[in-house]
Symmetry: C2
Subunit: 299 residues, 2 copies
Amino acid sequence: MARQNTVFKEAYNRYAAALRTDTALPSEPEIAAQLGVSRSTARAILTRLSEEGIIRWNKRQKTVLRQPTDRDLFPSEETDSLHDIIERSFMQRILADDAAPGMQINELELAREIGTGTTSVREFLIRFSRFGLIEKRPNSHWTLKGFTREFALELADVREMFELHSAAEFGRLPKGHQAWADLAAIRDDHHAMLADINQRFRDFSVLDERFHLLIHRASKNRFIADFYDAIAIVFHYHYQWNKTAARERNERAIHEHLDYIAALESGDQAAIEKACRAHLHSARQTLLQSLPQMASESG
Amino acid sequence: MARQNTVFKEAYNRYAAALRTDTALPSEPEIAAQLGVSRSTARAILTRLSEEGIIRWNKRQKTVLRQPTDRDLFPSEETDSLHDIIERSFMQRILADDAAPGMQINELELAREIGTGTTSVREFLIRFSRFGLIEKRPNSHWTLKGFTREFALELADVREMFELHSAAEFGRLPKGHQAWADLAAIRDDHHAMLADINQRFRDFSVLDERFHLLIHRASKNRFIADFYDAIAIVFHYHYQWNKTAARERNERAIHEHLDYIAALESGDQAAIEKACRAHLHSARQTLLQSLPQMASESG
DNA sequence: ATTTTGTTTTTTATCTACAATAAACATTTT
DNA sequence: AAAATGTTTATTGTAGATAAAAAACAAAAT
């Protein structure tokens, strides 16, 4: 097959789940815009909804006849994009314990195991290479560099440079800027989580990502933004398979965040730098402690 | 065709050009290592050299019969890798005056113009996207973000963060480290160029790249190294098509480099930071002045 | 025993083809 | 006339095939 219609299926599920009986649906371009797909795909969704008897569709008349059930939706395996499937499968492999640094990565083998063509795997690896975890030897194989202590330290160094820069920029945003409102909302979310920390400490990583993303956006620098995207993805998988998210550690991070937020709100650059450094220092420790303890390797 | 044998042709040219009549050639693995290719390719080269009557080859006996002439070599169009061809062609297009920011990039059209398949173009664009000059909308086209003032400023900001870091690290290298010898050599090259500046100011960009690369290697950080690779490529093409390399500007940069080198050699961190900042500030100005003067545009 | 050469297998780089999706164009409706 | 729908075209995403190049294996020579 040339291409799976996962865009259609995923959007269909999303749209069907939001339907309410007896409501009238908007125009095709509007539906397309809501779903973030082209009108062609929106029409394909309407066509299927109509065929399934979920809506009555006649030109501009689009009425919801019945509420779709779970059986009307496509199973989740069919809605994942190939890129996501490859990413998950690949991350699982390289974060697994038996994936030793220096290991060769074979495109064809990977493709076969995932059940996909080599082109997609190649393109994924090229995109993924910017995270610094793999490296290519021209005309030859990819090499796994691995989630090592060196990687963590290099990542942390750049992260600190970027975040100090972004935090300083954040402190210079004009008082009316939307970011201040967003920051206040995140501050409140921190307080809410802290109030129920025993139940909710596992949700911290999502809040953490939201907070740092907000800070980095203040820098308006594409390289910083891209780097943070990379960090977020790597951390997402890393912490998913390395459940070292101790309650105490997250609680401490929340307090650091609150200090950091207070410093930002004060507008005092020296205070911002101090709070930012304090948090980054402990984030670095957390990252290093999450690594498997091994003898330092040459390489 | 599945794949051009450009690796073979390029290596053949390289090896043939270095042959001297009546000398004996080393073993196959050694030739392969010298050329940086596999033994299969090395054997293909020996086979052709033998067929062309340039060498006599019998197992371990490999004697050069005659000096290869220019007519024995493959023409340069046949030795360029597809990646290089696409890169040159693409850079030429996006740095051309009519390439307006926001322009769509069409994979198929690009492939047709370059005379190549779409896969190679796609892979090139994916790799190239990390430079921040183009951006992809999923399931849709690439967009040219362009070599704009914003791009230059964002690049300069990150460059400054990284170089301050690397310079500080450089200053901490132990006295016996190879980098100090390399630095001394580069210092002498600066003095030599300065002595004949009227003739040689055009060669400065090569020296400049060599100098900054040496500094960045001290950081031993893959993200910093990768970023500098990106900068080097972008600048390479940018300055090639924008000949703003005024003699005065390069001369001033050489003096800044010499101050910077002296500071590094002094080991005084405050002096290093000061000299580094001074040079980076003027490098930023040079970059900004090399851009077409335009009204600041909205995003 | 190690290195070199000879031979075969594996893997990558690249092309072509085609379904899904987006985008453009044409017609109809308000 | 502006926006919606209907229809057609262009472009992307992915699979599969194949030559080049690398790598592995086997035999021979030092």
